[in-house]
Every structure is written in C-alpha cells, then in structure tokens.
C-alpha cells in the first residue's frame, strides 16, 4: 500500500513538525554553546547561531517539501486558495466556466452518441469478441445478410476460429392474442442463439438446444421484455399461453432479460421465435435456396484469434461455396467485422470509423476554441495578478509552486466546466433522441450517462484544464521580482511578447472555428443538394397508412375484398385525388426483390442471375406518386388474376435486359427460371427506391391482383395539405375492421425523412450546424475579448493621440485594424487547414465537392463580418476616450 504512505504521513504531520523543531533547537543550542565557549556574549552567541542557519521559515518549508505528503498538503492549500480566488472574481469565473461547459457539452453529446451507437457492448457473453459475419455479393456492394444454407456451412467450417456462430432473421410478424393482433419485429433464431450469447430467461425459459431448427417445428415464442410489459402488463401468467404468429399457433415460453434489447443495435426486438417457425409461412425458399439471403450472422471469436485470422478462415469456406454453388455464390465475398463497428448494419462497417472521426475532430476543434478563449481570459487576468505573484515569490514560493497554483485554478475552472458540460451534453442528447426517424421500426436510442461517458468527460476536463491553463501559468509564474515589485503593479512583464501570445491564441481560435464552420457549411449544402435530388416521384401531398390483413388472420380472397372496398371508400373521401395500394413505399424500411430471367437470354452457368427490386401495386399507383411513364401504359383494372400477367419495369431494367430494342412487349420471369412469364407493358423513369445515394438498380412493378401479398400501404394523393386527412384516413381502415392494426400513418414527406431518406443528412446538417454556430460564437467572443482588452490597455496612448489632434475616425481605424489583422491571419490559416481537413469528408457529401468555393467563401464572410461587428463596440468605446481623463488616470 505504498501509495497510502503520504496520506498516513499527513496525519503524523504535527509529530514530524515537532521533531523538526526539536532537531533545529538542538543544533542552535550546540552552536550557541560553541560561540559562548569562544567568548561571545549570550545574546551575540544566540544571534550568530541563528544567522548561520539562515531563514528558518524557508529552511522548514524546504525540509517539509521533502516529506512524502508535502504535495498533498500543498494541493489542498492550493485548491482552497484557488476556490477563494475564483469566488472573488465571479464575472471571470462564470465566463470561463460557461465557455468550457459549451465546449465540453458538445464533446459529451458526441461521445454519448458514439457510446450508444458504437462503444457500449451488447449485454451478452464475450461481447468484446463478438463479430458480425456478412457477405458482399458481386451485384450488391454492401456487405449484408447470408443465406440460411450458406450460414450452416460457415458455421460447420469455422470451429477453429469461432467458439460459436449463430444468427437471426428479422421479420415483421403479426402476434395475435385474444382477437387482437400487433405487428411485431421478430427475430427468428437458430436454437443455439441464447446459449451462445449467454442469455437466460428473465421469466420462463429460452429456446432449448435443437428446438425448432427444422422447418415447421418449434411453435414457441420468447417475448422481448418491453413488449411483454407493453402488451401483457408484465404479467408472469402469460407463460404457457397460446398466441398466433402470422396466424400460426405458438406457445409463449419466456421473457428475455430487461437489459437485452435484441442483437440488432438501435432496434427494440419485440419477440424471438425458432427459425423453424418460418417454415409455416408461404414457401419462400428460406430453407432451400442459397440465393435467399436473410440471416444476420453473429459469431464469437475464440480467445486469441484475430478478426483477420477469422476472415482468412472464412475466405476458404467462401471460395469452396463459390465453386460448389456458382449459381448463387460466385463472386461473393465474406467479411468479418467486430460487432461494434457493424452497427446497425455491416454496410456501415467501412464508413463508420470515418464518420465518428469526423465528428470527434469537429467537437475537438470547438473545445480547443473554447480552451483558447479561457487561456486568453487567464492571460488577461495574469496581468492584473502580477503583484500578487511577485509578493508570493518574494515570500519564498518557488516557480513550481506558483505554476501549480495557477494550473490548479484552471483545473478547478475546467472541472466546473466539465460538470456544466455533462449537464449540457445530457440535454443535447435528449434533444437528439427526439430526432429519431419516424415510424416503421421500433427504434431504440438509449443515450445514457454511463461510466464511459463519465470517464470521458473527466479526461476531457483534465485536458482542457491543462490546455487552457498551462501557457498562461508558465507566463505568469516567470517573474522578475525586482522589476515587478518596483513598478508597483503596472503590467510590464514582457508586454510585447504577451500581446504576441494573446494574438496568436485568437488567430488559432479564428482558424479553428473557420474549419468547423466550413465543415458545417458543407454538410448543410449537402442536405440542400440531397433535397433537390430527383426522387422519380413526387412526395408532396401524399398520405400513407400501413396495414396487414394477415395479422388479423385474413385469407387471400377476404384480403382482396378488403383491398377493393378500402380503395373504393378512399376515393370517395373529400380532398382525395387518387388512391392506390402498394406492397412497399419508396425509401421505406422494407422492399421485396427477386432474380429475373429475360426470355430467350439463357445465361452461362458461371454468371449470376441478376436480381431486381419488386413492388406489387394497384392501377392508380403511378398517378398517385406522379411517376413518369416513359413508354407503354400503366396498370388498369383490366389487369386481373385471370388476364395476361404483366409488369412495368424501370429504365435501368429495360436498358440492362433489352439494351438493343424496346422493352415493351418483351417477357421475363421472376418466380423461377422456367416461368411463368410476364409481359412488359410499360417503362417508368427510375425512382429512388432503396436509398437516396444508391445508383438505381433494376426494379419492376407487378399488379397486386397478379401477385398477392398481405402487407400493404394505402397511399392517397390529396388536393390540400395531407395532414388534414389523417383522422379520416385512419377511420377508413378502422370502419372496415376495427381490429385491423394500422401503422406508419404519415405523409410521404415524413416518410422520405426516414432512415433511408433524408434523416442522416438532416441530422448531420443540424448537428454540424450547431457546432459551427458554437465555434463561431466562441471565436467571436475571443476576438472581442482581446481587441477590447488591448483597446483598454491603450487608453493612455489613445488619449495622447487625441490630445495631439487625432480624429475619432483614425482612432476607430486603429482598433479595427488590429481586429482585421487578427481575423485575417486566422482566416488564412483556417482556410488552409479546412482545405486539408475537409478532404476526408468527401465520401460523406452528396453533390457538393469538399472544396466547394461557395461554402468556403460563405464561412469566411460570415466569420469576418461577425468578428468585425463585435469589434465595433470596443472601437466605438476607444473613440469616446476623453484625452484629459485618460492622461490624468496615469
């Protein structure tokens, strides 16, 4: 317990003090006796002995410093003194603490978010070794889900590198209980899921080993904790009850622990069921087709095995699969990501570190600007404290002691700032929590204040304290005693040099905040550009509502009757121009897709069958969304289940499958390689379907009458604001069936603001915009502070100038010129720094170059204009100097 020694010694302090006194007393007595023996008088002998020892106070102080606890005692003393000094200057203290709190608040917010998104591990066994395994196919550039069959092979072939591999397939499922159905997000999992993740049931049991791994077995369901509380009021009696999952009976066997929200970060999973349950659904090929990719794969690395080693082992399996099943797996590349960087999807695994870096650099810059501000405040105050420092130095305080004292003061400021920053950051997080995309998925952003955030804030506060305090402290503690004391406290210590330093700090602030401003400008421009992207449809004045008759146990004929009646009633609503049904909405959260085979174009066995997106729609769909038909016709009521099967393809599909001639009249098949064939009757302008930035892929539409799907969205185009129709719209479905679950009732504009639409652009622009504003504010305060400080120090000079006939205008110019030089230098450095830094943003921007001249110019103008405006005040004040007063003041 060596580190305890100083603390123990601290409590023995009085004893040690007494001993030192005794020791010195003994020395003095011996020396006095020696002098007496040499014939001095008693008084002379005593004084001579004292003189030989020198300054007793200083001697004791230096001796005390060698005791182990000296630092502790001095620290407490310094903290007490520092608190007194700060309390005596409330104005300064509040300004400094607020500035630091703003800078640290932004940092806390970003860190809390990054923590929630990335750093906080899943509450599962060996979370630090958990990885996501994903495949990247030749046609899709993003790594993602794996087919069930391939996942079995990867699992069987990798015990050398993984202790376990499991997975989950997410699906919206209707859970019916006592006549009422909810639409849930359900994870269908292999039976090793809970065991591998080390999860035990909070209530009942989880899925047993081997339970429900085969198709059409395992009719059980484990509820998510929050769904259990929401739907069943946390009633333990629900265990053993029978519910229906998409109409199939299943027994509730348990509830997962409260802290487990599902394996898919950011989403609250409602329930878990065995994979076998998927077998009860319509035959989808999940268990039999390698082209049917639906499984998110998780694997736990063996201790000591690296991601790269696991990657290499899986590569071998991937190559074998490609040889064995060229049809489905050729050109496929398997990837292993640490689970934390593959959130929410492995697709971000390559970009996420960059995004996080960018945000951390931005908040880091804002904090640096805040620290520089406080450093400047401290420097200004050091000038007024020279006398105090000189007196302390004269009384025997060493330079280290003064330095420590000053650093402790800045640390106290930083700690107070850290507390303020934590509060501000927490508040920002709550705001950001409210910014979640609307509807669809049960999003869970739990931005909580855990120990990681606390440790981060503490570390940032410490760094800020040193950053803001070190230079001023070094400066202030370097004191020429004679000079300072003699000059009676008029700041003379290295005056030109100090101005140089203060100016340097302001220039750095301006430069730093310009970099943040430019980045904010680029993100904002990027949003504007994204908003002007041609979506291929018109999202204005469209209202959507989702429902799924299967959740209510409807069979196909009943559902189709329901659709027809719903459409008929919707068209009669006042203010509705047209109404249509679709399986999915563009830029929504789910989509259907299929392999397509053009008639008469057999593919060589080595080539992969191309895939295309697919939507099932009713006749007025293209009118409702105002999509542009390039050729042919839209669907009509004459396209029924008994008429000729037809399809409408997008431009990309027409060009890819039939590059040399008109697509209309051609046939293709999407259900199997051999038919049935559908005839292309129209070509539509490429709409954005999966993501704003996606290069349009092949996409086609079939009449809903010819491809039954239960999940549906009713869309209407309104003549007025669509929001006014929401109540009537919801009532429409409820009138037809009061128990029909209705979800995602929102306007198309709200919908395209979702996760696959503008959400990330808006969130990015809002956040960087706020940071840019903050950086700007802090820099302006800095410029204002140093300019008005210098102006007030130059009162005397200005007074003389005016006494000698200087005009107000030239005095005004004098002050403004200083500001202009500072800001100009800062802008030049800032522009260069921004050019160097923003290059890394390039991949995150849409339709705007990272060198966008307009953004650079805009940021510069904004900064220069506000800075000079802020300096107008001290400049005006300087022109009001009364020469008589200024001169007499001296």
């Amino acid at each position: 317990m060596a580190f305890l020694k100083p603390f123990l010694a601290f409590f023995r302090k009085t004893k040690l003090e007494g001993e030192l006194d005794d020791e010195l007393q003994f020395h003095l007595e011996m020396r006095t006796q020696e002098h007496l023996a040499a014939g001095m008088s008693a008084e002379e002998a005593r004084l001579a002995a004292l003189r030989a020892l020198g300054n007793l106070g200083s001697l004791k102080a230096r001796t005390r410093d060698t005791w182990g606890f000296a630092w502790l005692e001095a620290l407490l003393q310094d903290v007490r003194y520092g608190l007194r000094v700060l309390a005596k200057n409330p104005g300064f203290t509040v300004a400094a603490v607020m500035t630091l709190a703003l800078g640290m608040g932004a940092n806390t917010a970003i860190f809390s978010l990054a923590n929630a998104f990335m750093f906080r591990p899943l509450p599962v066994k060996d979370a630090e070794r958990l990885t996501v395994v994903a495949v990247q196919s030749k046609t899709d550039s993003d790594p993602g889900v794996i087919s069930y069959l391939d996942h079995l092979e990867y699992r069987a072939g990798s015990p050398a590198v993984f202790t376990g591999m499991t997975g989950y397939a997410m699906s919206f499922t209707g859970l019916g209980y006592q006549g009422h159905a909810d639409r849930l997000l359900v994870s269908y999992v292999p039976s090793n899921f809970f065991a591998m993740l080390g999860l035990h049931a909070a209530l009942g049991r989880v899925i047993n080993s081997g339970e429900g791994d085969a198709p059409k077995t395992g009719a059980v369901v484990v509820l998510g904790h929050s769904y259990w509380e929401k739907r069943f009021g946390g009633d333990p009696g629900v265990i053993g009850h029978t519910v229906t999952l998409d109409g199939n009976a299943a027994t509730v066997i348990g509830v997962v622990p409260e802290e487990f929200h599902g394996p898919y970060n950011l989403v609250e999973m409602d329930a878990y069921a065995p994979l076998g349950m998927l077998g009860f659904g319509p035959d989808s090929g999940f268990f039999t087709s390698r082209a049917d990719r639906d499984v998110h794969v998780l694997a736990t690395l063996k201790p000591g095995v690296s991601v790269e080693q696991a990657q290499a082992a899986l590569n071998l399996i991937g190559q074998r699969l490609a040889q064995q099943y060229p049809q489905a797996d050729q050109g496929q590349r398997v990837r292993v990501f640490p689970e934390q960087i593959a959130r929410p999807e492995p697709a971000v695994g390559d970009a996420m570190p960059l995004v996080v870096t960018v945000f951390f650099v931005m908040v880091g810059l804002v904090l640096a600007v805040a620290c520089l501000n406080v450093a400047n405040l401290l420097l200004a105050r050091a000038a007024t404290r020279e006398k105090e420092m000189s007196v302390r130095a004269a009384l025997g305080a060493g330079r280290m002691r003064l330095l420590r004292q000053l650093l402790i003061e800045s640390m106290l400021l930083a700690l107070a700032g850290g507390v303020g920053g934590a509060i501000a950051g927490n508040w920002v997080c709550r705001l950001l929590n409210g910014l979640r995309p609307l509807g669809g998925v049960p999003v869970r952003v739990a931005v909580a204040f855990d120990w990681r955030v606390f440790a981060y804030v503490a570390a940032v506060a410490l760094a800020a304290g040193i950053l803001a305090g070190l230079v001023p402290a070094l400066r202030a503690s370097r004191i020429d005693l004679n000079l300072a004391l003699r000059e009676g406290g008029r700041g003379l210590v290295g005056e030109p040099k100090r101005n140089w330093l203060r100016n340097g700090l302001v220039i750095a602030q301006v430069a730093g905040s310009l970099v943040v401003l430019v980045a904010a400008g680029l993100f904002t421009r990027s949003l504007t550009r994204a908003e002007s992207i041609d979506l291929g449809f018109d999202p204005h004045n469209v209202l959507n509502v989702g429902f799924d008759p299967v959740l209510q146990g409807y069979d196909q004929p009943r559902a189709e009757a329901f659709f027809r009646e719903l459409l008929r009633r919707a068209r009669t609503l006042p203010g509705v121009e047209s109404a249509s049904l679709a399986y999915s909405i563009p830029l929504g959260i789910y989509n259907d897709g299929s392999r397509v085979y053009a008639e008469g174009q057999p593919l060589p066995a080595s080539e992969r069958v191309p895939g295309a997106g697919l939507n099932c729609v009713s006749p007025d769909y293209f009118t409702t969304l105002r999509m542009h038909m390039l050729e042919g016709r839209a669907f009509t009521d004459a396209d029924t289940s008994t008429s000729q099967p037809v399809a409408i393809v997008n431009q990309t599909m027409a060009a890819r499958l039939w590059p040399h001639h008109d697509a209309v009249g051609e046939r293709f098949t999407y259900k199997s390689a051999s038919g049935p064939y559908v005839t292309v009757v129209g070509v539509v302008h490429d709409p954005k379907t999966t993501g704003l930035l996606d290069v349009p892929g092949m996409f086609f539409y079939v009449p809903q009458t010819q491809n039954y799907k239960s999940t549906h969205v009713l869309q209407v185009r309104t003549s007025g604001p669509p929001e006014s129709l929401t109540a009537a719209f919801e009532g429409l479905v409820r009138d037809l069936d009061p128990n029909m679950p209705v979800y995602d009732l929102m306007t198309m504009e709200q919908s395209v603001g979702g996760a696959n639409g503008y959400f990330l652009f808006k969130a990015g622009a809002a956040f960087t915009g706020a940071l840019g504003g903050l950086g700007l504010l802090l820099a302006i305060v800095g410029v204002y502070g140093v300019v008005s400080y210098t102006a007030s120090r130059r009162r005397h000079e200005i007074g003389i100038r005016m006494a000698l006939g200087a005009q107000r205008g030239s005095v005004f110019g004098l002050v403004i010129r200083q500001a202009a030089i500072l800001v100009g230098a800062g802008v030049c450095i800032g522009l260069l720094a921004a050019l160097a830094c923003t290059r890394i943003l390039a991949s995150l921007l849409v339709g705007v170059s990272s060198y966008d001249p307009a953004t650079y110019a805009g940021g510069t103008v904004l900064l220069v204009a506000t800075a000079l405006l802020a300096c107008y005040i001290p400049a005006r004040r300087a022109t009001k100097v009364d020469p008589m007063v200024a001169l007499r003041y001296e």
């Binding site: 030192l20 005794d22 020791e23 030989a52 001697l59 001796t63 060698t66 005791w67 182990g68």
Partner: protein
C-alpha cells in the same frame, strides 16, 4: 564549503561522514569542518532539508538518542541503500576530480 558550495557534493560528504557511525546534524557539520581542516563548511541552512530528503529516499535512517550533553538528539545512520549510494557518489566524484585535474594539467 566556503561560500560557493560545489553542487551535488553535500550528499557525498554527509554519507561519507555517516559511514563512520551514527551522528546528529550538528555533529556532521563539525566533523566535515574538522576533517577538511576548516576548508569545507557545510551550509547549515541546506543541511537539514538534505538530511530529510535522504531519509525519505531511504539512504539514511534516524533514531532519537541521548547526546554527549545528555540532551536528546536525532542521530542519522547509514542504511544499506545509503552505502550503495555512497559508493556511486564516490565513483562519480573521482571521475570528475580526475577530469578536472587533467584539464588543469593539459589544457
């Protein structure tokens, strides 16, 4: 050591003095003065901080004992670590002294 104390020699002198047996602060001053025939005078103001520093470093230990005058005094003694330190300091010193001597002879 006159007025200009040679930097860093105080530790060496104190350790060497204590290698002959335990001694109190005043005794150390006297002893160094005697042996050096009044050439070296330890600055008393620096002695006590140095003693306490070396005590903290573990080179010397201390005990309160009755002195020759019957009054209780703090006697310092060399520890094993102190003996090692003394050897080092001695070695350093001879090297420096030799080097200075060479310069005086040849430079």
């Amino acid at each position: 050591m006159g007025k200009e104390q040679l930097l860093g020699t105080l530790d060496l002198l104190v350790l060497k003095t204590l290698s002959r047996g335990p001694m109190h602060g005043y005794g150390i001053v006297q002893r160094i003065q005697q042996v050096s025939e009044d050439e070296l005078r330890v600055e008393e103001g620096s002695l006590y901080p140095a003693l306490h520093r070396m005590e903290q470093a573990g080179w010397i230990g201390a005990d309160w004992k009755d002195s020759e005058t019957g009054r209780r005094a703090k006697y310092y003694r060399l520890t094993a670590a102190g003996r090692k330190r003394l050897a080092q300091e001695k070695e350093n010193w001879s090297r420096v002294a030799e080097a200075v001597a060479k310069v005086l002879r040849f430079a």
